[in-house]
């Protein structure tokens, strides 16, 4: 889900930009030993795959997958986060998701890559690859949906902020119903998570059969890793 402009309060999306800059800085710093000529084509290729996946609709639901978890598993957390940022930037440049909330949207999409990679590594070989990837995707998307709900909860808006004849006299008193928002997000998202989990599992199973080396972190190995 891409947050549009004008919905969330300024301090929240400003904080989103600050956190994004910090996360990008950390990612770029950790990748400093990797050859730039290797990083850029990889980022371009995997970000493009994510965009292609997002442009495909699964009939009849008109739902689209992200592939952010798969990208995180293959690229590692740092490259996966940067790929998620690039994808989100291009989505914003297509009118999907706002400009002011690029920080928050990128953090959400990037979190899917980072959390997906972490959980996949932690599970090691406890399950067959399909079930391992599917379960990781399901858990990751659930956790990031909770993060989205937290972002909305942090907005804690008074509806009077949105509509008032006089900005000093709010017409409505009340709060955002987080329970209602959560119910909608979790209910609408759950079917999508299942589809994405199944597709991610199938994709990684295929890769494990055709190019198993890709699952061994070779894509984001740096020179220092190679020396070790």
């Amino acid at each position: 889900m891409h947050i549009p402009d004008g919905i969330l309060p300024i301090p929240l999306w400003a904080l989103g930009f600050i956190l994004l800059f910090i996360a990008l800085g950390i990612s770029l710093f950790r990748l400093r030993a990797m050859d730039r000529k290797k990083k850029i084509p990889l980022l371009g290729a995997l970000s493009a795959v994510m965009l292609v996946a997002m442009s495909l609709e699964i009939f009849p639901l008109a739902y689209h997958i992200n592939l952010s978890v798969a990208a995180g598993i293959l690229l590692g957390p740092e490259l996966g986060f940067i790929a998620a940022f690039i994808t989100n930037m291009i989505l914003a440049l297509m009118g999907h998701g706002g400009i002011t909330v690029i920080g928050l949207n990128s953090l959400l999409l990037g979190s899917e890559a980072v959390v997906g990679h972490t959980l996949f590594s932690l599970m090691q070989n406890r399950l067959p690859i399909f079930w391992r990837a599917a379960l990781v995707t399901l858990v990751t998307l659930f956790l990031v949906s909770l993060l989205l709900i937290s972002v909305v909860a942090a907005s804690d808006l008074n509806p009077g902020y949105f509509f008032s004849g006089d900005e000093h006299k709010p017409v409505f008193q009340g709060e955002v119903s987080i329970s209602r928002f959560s119910f909608m997000i979790l209910a609408l998202g759950s079917l999508g998570w299942a589809i994405e989990a199944a597709i991610t599992g199938s994709v990684l199973k295929f890769i494990s059969q055709v190019k198993p080396g890709l699952l061994s972190h070779i894509l984001h190995a740096t020179r220092s890793d190679a020396v070790r």
């Binding site: 889900m1 004008g6 290729a45 995997l46 493009a48 965009l51 409505f172």
Partner: protein, 237 residues
């Protein structure tokens, strides 16, 4: 849903005033509209602003009908958020307009500006690796999209996609995506070799001047008008 090819075609093939204006002017136009959407709490100035944008797009030959449809995608989150707030029709109107007005402005920007020019403009503020990543993604996207379309056509001809069959469709889609991923990684490895041989030195952005042009009156005037409407709605009571 995302029709990047069509957006790219519109951006590269148009010749109206929006197309002739500079990237910097259009970026200012976008910022003015986004600022107007963020600061306003009244649906009427925003509705007027949306109408101004629509009129400007229609008058300058932009594909405004398609733009209206695409801008409403941004309303989805606003509607979900609006349902969560106990408010009336006016509140929903504000939230939806806050979402679709900047989205429409962004669409006006991208259907009149080729993406390489936008990335070149962004490269002045982004680190080189991110700017180059944007270029590379844009370049790879069309190649991979083409590959995916051929695959899907082949599957469809073999009866692999049937309406209503989510499991079958998802399974075949997954195979296509997996193949695409493997191709993408192999492509990136070949590209790495090409860049090494050709002596890539860390600069990929299109060099160009970002100065203002005579046609900039339109996006700057439109953005200023929308911003003024938001200011008037906020302070004139």
């Amino acid at each position: 849903m995302i029709d990047v090819e069509r957006i790219d075609y519109w951006a590269a093939s148009g010749s109206g005033p929006f197309h002739r204006s500079s990237v910097a002017a259009k970026a200012i136009f976008l910022l003015l509209v986004v600022t107007a959407a963020v600061m306003t709490t009244n649906p009427y100035p925003l509705a007027a602003g949306y109408a101004v944008l629509l009129a400007a797009a229609a008058a300058t030959g932009l594909p405004f009908v398609r733009m209206v449809v695409l801008s409403w995608y941004a309303a989805l989150f606003a509607i979900l958020y609006g349902i969560s707030i106990r408010g009336g029709a006016s509140l929903y109107a504000v939230m939806i307009l806050k979402a679709i007005t900047p989205a429409f402005a962004m669409l006006a920007f991208i259907v009149s500006t080729p993406y390489p020019r936008i990335f070149a403009f962004l490269s002045s503020v982004l680190p080189e690796i991110l700017a180059a990543g944007l270029f590379m993604t844009y370049r790879s996207f069309f190649i991979l999209l083409d590959m995916m379309k051929h695959f899907m056509a082949a599957i469809r001809l073999r009866g692999g996609f049937s309406p209503g069959s989510i499991v079958n469709n998802s399974s075949n889609l997954a195979r296509g995506i997996a193949m695409l991923l493997v191709h993408a990684v192999e492509r990136s490895e070949r590209l790495y070799a090409v860049m090494a041989v050709r002596g890539y030195n860390g600069s990929m952005a299109e060099a160009g001047t970002f100065g203002f042009r005579s046609a900039d009156w339109l996006p700057l005037g439109t953005g200023a008008l929308v911003f003024s409407l938001a200011l008037a709605g906020r302070y004139c009571r």
